[in-house]
């Protein structure tokens, strides 16, 4: 199956999903605003700090997000390892983009927080992420701390749906956007599901050096 066709399908489906899901643009996302910076993501209304949560990484060690990624371009995504549809697409797309750009600051941090804490253990996170890119950081924490991090980023909390198909096959709702922290350690922009590899290849160099206007 040709890559181009799938790419067009993803774009068409993503566009349809967005159009079908709203009658007016959501207030949180300002796409036109991003264009003036030469970026294709969705500008946030407020510039947000990194959550002050201390997570646990895939080696079982404490991981202070702010300290570990200070001054570095950092992508953060909240997903879960049993997610068949959205998460693998983002992770693979971003990995491919990382391999295609040369950035002054080196490879950006890609941080995946497993919101399905019952199943997303450090070991399982590592196995899962390694299928995409060994450079990716996998994090876990208590459900309360993960919720706190998501609240600080003003994104919807994870929803664990116990119905599903029963037993281990429950479903998880989670934010589908990737939150980008530029080297100023603030999140000004997110990238929704449907962001293609080319979007990342185009935007990562600009994200590394963009000068954000102050919000008055």
């Amino acid at each position: 199956m040709s890559a181009r066709r799938i790419l067009l399908l993803v774009g068409a489906v993503a566009a349809f999903s967005l159009i079908a899901g709203c009658t007016s643009p959501p207030d949180q996302f300002d796409r036109a605003g991003a264009e003036r910076y030469g970026l294709q993501g969705s500008l946030l209304g407020d510039a947000l700090d990194k959550p002050d949560v201390v997570f646990t990484d895939t080696e079982g060690r404490p991981y202070d997000l702010r300290a570990e990624t200070a001054g570095e371009l950092t992508l953060v995504f909240f997903g879960y390892t049993s997610c068949p549809d959205v998460c693998p697409i983002h992770l693979d797309t971003i990995s491919q983009a990382f391999n295609r750009v040369q950035l002054e600051g080196g490879v950006p941090n890609m941080v995946f927080v497993g919101v399905d804490t019952a199943r997303d253990t450090p070991e399982r996170l590592r196995t899962y992420l390694d299928r995409f890119d060994r450079r990716f950081v996998g994090l876990t924490a208590t459900p309360e701390e993960i919720d706190r991090a998501m609240a600080q980023l003003q994104i919807p909390s994870a929803v664990i749906d116990a119905e599903g198909a029963g037993g281990d096959d429950y479903l998880v709702g989670h934010p589908s956007q990737v939150v980008v922290f530029t080297p100023d350690d603030k999140a000004h922009i997110v990238y929704p599901f449907g962001a293609t590899m080319q979007v990342w290849v185009d935007d990562l160099p600009q994200l590394e050096r963009v000068e954000w206007e102050s919000v008055t």
Binding site: R4, F16, S17, T81, S82, G173, Q177, F193
Partner: protein, 175 residues
Amino acid sequence: MVIRPPLGSSGPRLVSRRRGVGAQLALVAVLVVALGACGTDDAADDDPSVVGSGVSVVDPVMPVPAGATGAAYMTIENAGDEPDVLRGVRTVTGEMAMVHRTEIAEDGQATMRPAGAVQVPAGGELVLAPGGLHLMVAVPDGLGVGDVVGLVLEFEDAGEIGIDVEVVGPGEVTG
């Protein structure tokens, strides 16, 4: 022409074929219309060798699963004059499989739900692609690129159609 996959094809009424890039790009236009308007009078294909009801499955693939479940994507075409309905899916081995739909809300929240019965419009198609409809399938550990997952799609009129879903590299669906 109906082209049977070279390896691993077995089971009743396996109908799938692969298309050239030009036809694929044309199909994109059709799929956008099909998604939005639920139907078009233009026959997607008047291939006389399509079986009986006119329903066929094109390019079933599953990106190699990284977890306990995999997502199968494909295009279901209906060359007939009557709409058909996809009622469900099962695996040939008895593992869990369901037709699911990812929904992304205004605030970005993604949830997956059972899709229920989904119509395949007459003379149109139903696309299962990332971020939308897909078949969620419980998969065994160690499934790798090149493996095949046998599924049976259950249609209201066309009945059961067996398909061999090829496991592909994750990059094949992300471009």
